[in-house]
């Protein structure tokens, strides 16, 4: 049974046996979003970006400040610019090499949203709305309350006398269990594009389900991220302190459940010097403002932390840790990428030369967060890292900032069809 939490109009929870009625409703209501012009949509999203910080419910959501910043007009316009040569193509014919090109919405976009970042669904949805698509979002149950409160703010946003409800008129928020394969298949068959965010198992299960021949898949699958710091930065105590504080903010976001979360930090220094870096990280963990203190942990996560701490202790490896299972810093000089423990656990590794990390790179590396004094060295190394498949290289503190391209993809351009008209000069 499909649990519907938002049907384009109401937030009353109801059930639907299949997608027949949902599909019919979308066909009818779709005209509303098609009538909106790009500037109005950008304006509505911009208004939403301000309102979520004023709303007493949404302002408490983890990552809301970043979502607000991301949804601002200036950022949305820069996202459009990076995807399209001229945004005119999104509204009207645009002449290029003797052809008239126009970007048209794909149609119905199915979003399979992972549960690791509660605001993830919004990033996916807003880009799809920007391209005037209809949307069905399958959201994990634990993210539903967050998504509902955010969509309520979007529905009530206004720009130029236009209400956000027009923007959301053909958007559905639903849930069904992963065991309900028939429902999943039905949704899949309805989509003109499928955006799938998730782990290996989820990506495989959903991408294997039947789809239209014309359906485009946009997969954001399992990825791994880590950080690096060059020797000049290690030796500059002021910069080191500042950067380790930034690293800690990258670590605490989503309790390291994101593909952008640093799990390992590789330092260009000797093994004894690692302790200096570890102490800075410890200081930052201890000085976190009260609102960022860990208040909960799953037993599984706690058990993983206890085990890795014991392993390091038995082997006589260095470690800094909180009293309970709050944070853990594990030190060694074995240059490798470790299986994530998450929940504020960072592996700290020393290496003589950061170019040695090239051998660790696979196409599964999403983000590398850096702290470099020598920017030329950074650019040289980055060229090789990008060539090896690293999607993003950003300064520490920005690892979890959602941006385009993401996983090497320009999402907006994937959510439209480039259609054309060639006007014949002959009579």
């Amino acid at each position: 049974m499909i649990q519907v939490f938002f049907d384009g109009k109401e937030f009353n929870q109801k059930q639907a046996p299949d997608f027949k009625q949902i599909s019919e409703e979308i066909s009818k209501s779709r005209q509303e979003i098609l009538k909106l012009n790009l500037e109005d949509i950008i304006g509505l999203i911009n208004n939403f970006s301000q309102n979520i910080l004023r709303n007493h419910e949404t302002v408490k959501i983890e990552g809301i400040a970043f979502l607000s910043q991301w949804a601002r007009k200036s950022n949305i316009e820069s996202l459009i610019e990076i995807n399209f040569e001229d945004k005119k193509i999104l509204s009207d014919y645009y002449e290029k090499n003797g052809k008239l090109l126009i970007a048209q919405p794909k149609g119905i976009i199915g979003h399979w949203i992972a549960g690791n970042v509660v605001t993830l669904g919004l990033f996916s949805l807003l880009q799809s709305l920007l391209m005037k698509n209809s949307n069905i979002l399958r959201i994990p149950l634990e993210s539903i309350p967050t998504m509902v409160s955010l969509l309520k703010v979007l529905r009530d946003s206004e720009f130029n006398g236009i209400k956000g409800s027009a923007l959301l008129s053909s958007t559905y928020l639903i849930y069904f269990t992963k065991e309900e394969k028939n429902i999943n298949d039905e949704l899949s068959m309805l989509c003109d594009a499928r955006i799938i965010w998730g782990g290996e198992e989820a990506i495989k299960a959903i991408s294997d389900s039947p789809k239209k021949e014309t359906c485009e898949d946009i997969l954001f699958g399992p990825k791994y991220s880590f950080s690096i710091i060059d020797k000049d930065m290690v030796n500059d105590s002021v910069s080191l302190s500042k950067n380790m504080n930034r690293l800690v903010y990258d670590i605490i976001f989503s309790e390291q459940n994101s593909c952008t979360s640093p799990q390992v930090m590789i330092c260009e220094c000797s093994y004894p010097e690692l302790e200096k870096v570890a102490l800075e990280i410890k200081k930052s963990f201890e000085n976190l403002p009260e609102k960022y203190k860990k208040t909960d942990i799953s037993s599984f996560q706690a058990s993983s932390i206890i085990k890795i701490r014991t392993k390091y202790a038995l082997e006589g490896k260095k470690m800094l840790k909180s009293e309970g299972n709050d944070w853990t810093i594990l030190l060694d000089n074995n240059l490798c990428l470790e299986e994530p423990i998450k929940s504020r656990t960072i592996f700290l590794k020393s290496c003589d030369d950061l170019t040695n990390i090239l051998k660790l790179i696979t196409p599964k590396i999403q983000t590398i967060g850096y702290a470099f004094k020598d920017k030329n060295k950074l650019i040289e190394l980055s060229k090789k890292l990008n060539l090896s498949g690293v999607s993003r290289i950003v300064a520490l503190g920005q690892m979890n900032f959602y941006d385009l391209p993401w996983d090497g993809k320009m999402l907006l351009a994937r959510l439209i069809n480039f259609n054309s008209l060639k006007v014949s000069q002959e009579e």
Binding site: G198, P222, Y224, S298, S299, S303, T310, Y312, E339
Partner: protein, 367 residues
């Protein structure tokens, strides 16, 4: 009294008589002495120095527990190799590696004696005719190593007047030998019988086979089962369903079906449900239910990770082991059954959260 004499007294006297406060007073000095002896092992020396130095330990809950999974990865032996009389191994059904627990004569003796005394509290002083719902092969080690299933059966055998194994075949094709069972029950028709087996095996190869044969009994009997609920959970068989259905087949009361919680890393310390469904801790051991975030002991009514404290082992570091199980602290010193000390309930194995995302795992993803 020296340490060994104190331990011996704790094991041999009547169990479940110490209040939580008295237990702390009696166990702490013994365990502290045992911990100091462990630092001859380099792994453990490192461990205590790094996690919580022994000189700072002021109470039982200060002792840094060793996760049971570490016995899979490290050879944590505290006696000379020549003194090892038996190596216990975990079942290893869900993990590729098995725990290896090294027993010397002293530890093995204590464990046997301790188990006997716990069972006495639940089964009475007399040895009883015992039906083992398993195959005899499980208790026939090829060498000095023995599985957890075999070790549990072996532990109970010391309490048996006579024993019969009622399953034939080899895992997973076990078959009930009904004639053998009926013959044994006939022989001891006037006595109380004790049935023992692993929970899943009792359900699958005893209860279901008797059910399909349309056979049931009317017995004066107690059933003790262990091994956990993992396999039955997937079949939607709860403890209540298990107790009801098995007792209907045997013809006793569901109060006579006792779940026994224990592990190969803590042989000798088993927790059997009392008539009020609570698990009690014997005098020579303790349980600490820890809050997953703070690692502090939880208050009554709260759940957490189960840790077991024991004075029994000296050939391996089992003084404080933290399990991968969740428990609920039910109370202290005041269970209606009259047993003293802390009492708790086993809730489940610790499971991985289903909230997974794009930052899942690294292994298996390298191309």
């Amino acid at each position: 009294m020296d340490k060994d004499e104190k331990i011996n007294e704790l094991i041999t006297k009547d169990q479940f008589t110490l209040s939580a406060e008295d237990k702390e007073k009696q166990l702490f000095p013994i365990i502290l002495e045992q911990l100091k002896n462990q630092t001859n092992n380099n792994y453990l020396k490192n461990f205590y120095e790094s996690i919580f130095p022994i000189q700072n330990i002021k109470r039982l809950s200060d002792i840094p527990p060793i996760p049971v999974s570490m016995f899979k990865n490290y050879e944590l032996r505290l006696c000379p190799e020549s003194e090892v009389v038996r190596v216990l191994t975990s079942s290893g059904t869900t993990a590729q590696m098995k725990s290896k627990i090294f027993l010397d004569k002293k530890t093995a003796f204590r464990q046997t004696k301790a188990l006997m005394n716990i069972l006495k509290s639940h089964l009475g002083n007399q040895r009883k005719p015992m039906v083992i719902i398993d195959t005899e092969k499980v208790n026939m080690p090829g060498n000095d190593s023995i599985s957890a299933r075999g070790a549990a059966i072996r532990g109970l055998l010391t309490f048996a007047q006579e024993t019969v194994y009622i399953l034939d075949g080899t895992d997973p094709d076990l078959k009930l030998n009904l004639d053998k069972l009926i013959g044994f029950l006939e022989k001891y028709k006037d006595q109380e019988i004790v049935f023992f087996g692993f929970t899943y095996i009792i359900w699958e190869f005893f209860y279901k086979q008797l059910l399909s044969l349309g056979k049931s009994f009317k017995l004066k009997a107690k059933v003790i089962h262990s091994g956990g609920w993992k396999k039955l959970e997937s079949k939607k068989v709860s403890k209540e369903i298990f107790n009801k259905n098995v007792s209907e087949i045997i013809g006793n009361s569901s109060e006579d079906i006792h779940d026994m919680y224990g592990m190969v890393e803590q042989v000798g310390v088993v927790f059997i449900d009392c008539e009020h469904g609570n698990k009690h801790v014997p005098n020579f051991a303790d349980v600490i239910i820890r809050d997953p975030l703070t690692m502090e002991e939880v208050n009554i009514g709260k759940q957490g990770i189960i840790e077991i404290i024991s004075v029994l082992p000296e050939s391996y570091p089992g003084q404080a082991t933290i399990t991968e199980d969740l428990g609920l602290l039910m109370g202290i010193d005041d269970c209606k059954c009259g047993r003293k000390g802390k009492y708790f309930r086993f809730l489940s194995r610790i499971k991985e959260s289903e909230t997974r995302g794009c930052g899942d795992t690294f292994s298996g993803r390298r191309e």
